[in-house]
């Protein structure tokens, strides 16, 4: 018998409790031992809840109860989640979490704490929601030298971009719709500016390459500057604009993690990942490429990953199966994105084709419906980004927009 404590009764917390009791019989069968939820920690009251007797506001009830060997942290944020999780691990209680900010900022430390205390810190739910990615990356692709990962890691921005692509909405209109549907928060900054995707690519980078990548070290651009016109040009080019979180090995033995909107060609499966869905492509020397696709957020999808981790932690009681990586004290292993060789899409006003040829040489011109005279859009040749910056500045006229082209096939 193992007792579970659920920290936080928000969307994911209530989904976890709901899913656990819905499929309890088969969950227990798969765990190979009896399981039950003993505590739900929340500062709020839930009178009339069928789980009323399980609620507590005091973490010590959980910490001091030796029956509780499994903890699901679904509060979000670093404080107080970090203190709670660390204290649980120090008591030898395995913790599973959906908290990407916690894993991205404190993962190395918490993994070390888990190992030192013979328990597990699992976080399948922190990246890609329902999508199995952490364990497949760590376990099923273990024979591979991973060379790159590229993913659509944020459902909110993918919904917005899908509306801009399919229905020619502009960014503000699509964001408003996402907010009305509950996909975007009132303050959408974390999603729209790419911070959420950044945390997730930090987790994937740390796991794939074995050293903690902190969010502050990752160049991160969101989608707020993308226009409906950019989306139209991307379609004409033969692809779609997507917010891509990626990491790749570079020739000098470093890694380059990054979050930015990118033109993704239709030959890449990621271009077909629409609406709130996420997709994560992993590149390895043996598998070539594999993609994982599904709902990246939501009550039951995220609870699915939480409960799967609870089952695993229950089965492995006493054995540490946590994915591990080293902490890192500086970012010298992170490549400078300005040195990366990349092709840019460029949209300009008041620049002649002669000037474009003078600056960039031969380019691929794109067109769109109702393209105004004086507007040019093209794909510039591949070059280091710092060289592109110099050339783009030399174009003159008005630079209406630039978007990188994703250089990973798929």
């Amino acid at each position: 018998m193992a007792k579970i404590a659920v920290l936080g009764y928000g969307v994911v917390g209530s989904g976890t409790v709901e899913l656990f009791y819905k499929n309890k019989d088969s969950i227990i069968k798969k765990a190979g031992k009896d399981l039950d939820i003993k505590y739900i920690l929340d500062i709020r009251e839930f009178p009339g809840s069928p789980y009323e007797s399980k609620f507590t506001k005091n973490i010590d009830d959980i910490l001091n109860d030796s029956e509780v060997t499994l903890v699901a942290e679904v509060m979000g944020g670093v404080h107080p989640a970090f203190d709670f999780v660390k204290a649980c691990l120090e008591k030898g209680k395995s913790v599973v979490t959906s908290n990407k900010e916690l894993v991205a900022k404190k993962g190395a430390e918490l993994l070390k704490t888990a190992e030192a205390n013979g328990c597990n810190f699992l976080f399948e739910a922190s990246t890609g929601g329902a999508i199995p990615i952490i364990r497949p990356l760590h376990q099923c692709l273990a024979a591979n030298d991973i060379t790159a990962i590229a993913g659509i890691l944020n459902g909110t921005t993918n919904f917005i971009l899908t509306k801009m692509i399919n229905e020619q909405m502009d960014f503000d209109e699509a964001l408003k719709m996402a907010q009305q549907l509950g996909y975007a928060e009132k303050d959408p900054t974390a999603d729209v500016e790419g911070y959420d995707a950044c945390r997730k690519i930090c987790i994937l980078s740390s796991l794939a390459f074995g050293k903690h990548v902190y969010p502050d070290w990752v160049h991160c651009e969101g989608i707020s500057k993308i226009t409906a016109e950019d989306a139209q040009y991307a379609e004409n080019w033969g692809g779609a604009v997507k917010l891509i979180g990626s990491v790749k090995k570079t020739a000098d033995g470093k890694i380059l993690p990054m979050v930015r909107p990118a033109f993704v060609c239709n030959g890449n499966q990621l271009s077909h990942v629409s609406d709130v869905f996420n997709g994560i492509m992993v590149y390895g020397d043996a598998v070539d490429q594999v993609m994982f696709y599904g709902r990246g957020a939501g009550k039951l999808p995220t609870a699915s990953a939480i409960v799967a981790d609870l089952i695993d932690a229950a089965k492995m009681n006493g054995t540490s199966i946590s994915q591990k990586w080293e902490d890192s004290t500086d970012n010298s292993f992170i490549a400078d994105y300005k040195d990366d060789v990349v092709a840019f899409y460029v949209r300009t006003e008041g620049v002649s084709k002669e000037k474009v040829a003078e600056v960039f040489g031969e380019v691929e011109y794109l067109s769109r419906e109702n393209q105004p005279a004086g507007e040019l859009a093209f794909i510039a040749p591949e070059m280091k980004e710092k060289d592109f910056d110099v050339k783009a500045a030399a174009l003159g006229g008005k630079l209406l927009g630039t978007v990188r082209v994703l250089d990973l096939e798929g």
Copy 2:
């Protein structure tokens, strides 16, 4: 220290050895113990091979060597693979395999043997090649009530269909090209008639629903009757023809596994899985839908799954982590596909729209370039397949083709 024996030095066997030595350092690190390949079993000679000293033609060398605790069976076929695998398991040696025929026909028995002998029988490589699907289905989706699985499980037929769709080749021409490229065998029956996909859907069905599904119990249709015209009509309809292996729960508590070509709409990710790639969509009550995509065959992709299973088996030495299912003595839990409610695409010659309306009521007509006068193509309303058969026979004229429409969203 654990020693490995590789049974069979064909495409997958040589890939397994190559990949193991290529990434040996990181493989050993992940396994947490020293590993080496001690034997390679093959009836052929490989003079000059760097692994010449490891070859043996005698399975007893492996069975009687207690240093060998891990075996990779990559011979294919049921005989003698079954006898070899069973003997290894009875000696407490864990076996990993890419042999879908073996797992589909003998999986329940071999899983039981492994459990009885405290070792593991793992088969990630048997389905979806490089794609992590067996472990994710069993472990990462463990909290779900799985309701259905649908996949493009055979790369050869998907390549042929892609050529028929994108380049308007006819079946014979596309098959010939696949053979020239080495994607199809000289005798392409197992791929083209769906038997390979059938074995894989048997494995996935057994794993997801807990009872062994034998290939003989599964209705299986291949793609040899699909024409370039059908592919054109599918495109006009807004989708693509794909060979789908699927299984779903039915209302009466049974399951319906099946292999057949199907119209898959463009909203379903499976419609975008092209060339030799595979894609497997899993539907569950919590995750909604998740898809796994990648190379379903090939030397290194399949070796990737074999070596990952070897790492797992090495880590879990002495603990049985095998996925398990019960054997089944009869097929009473398999639903009759003729009772399934399905929409059919129909292509006819010499039938009037009046007659179609009389037989089927309202239908959705499709069109294609150069459609001859007298040819009609339409999507019939959903009904039980046995009722459709009666109506289709009542149409008169000439029935040029029928293809089911996939009823799973995606």
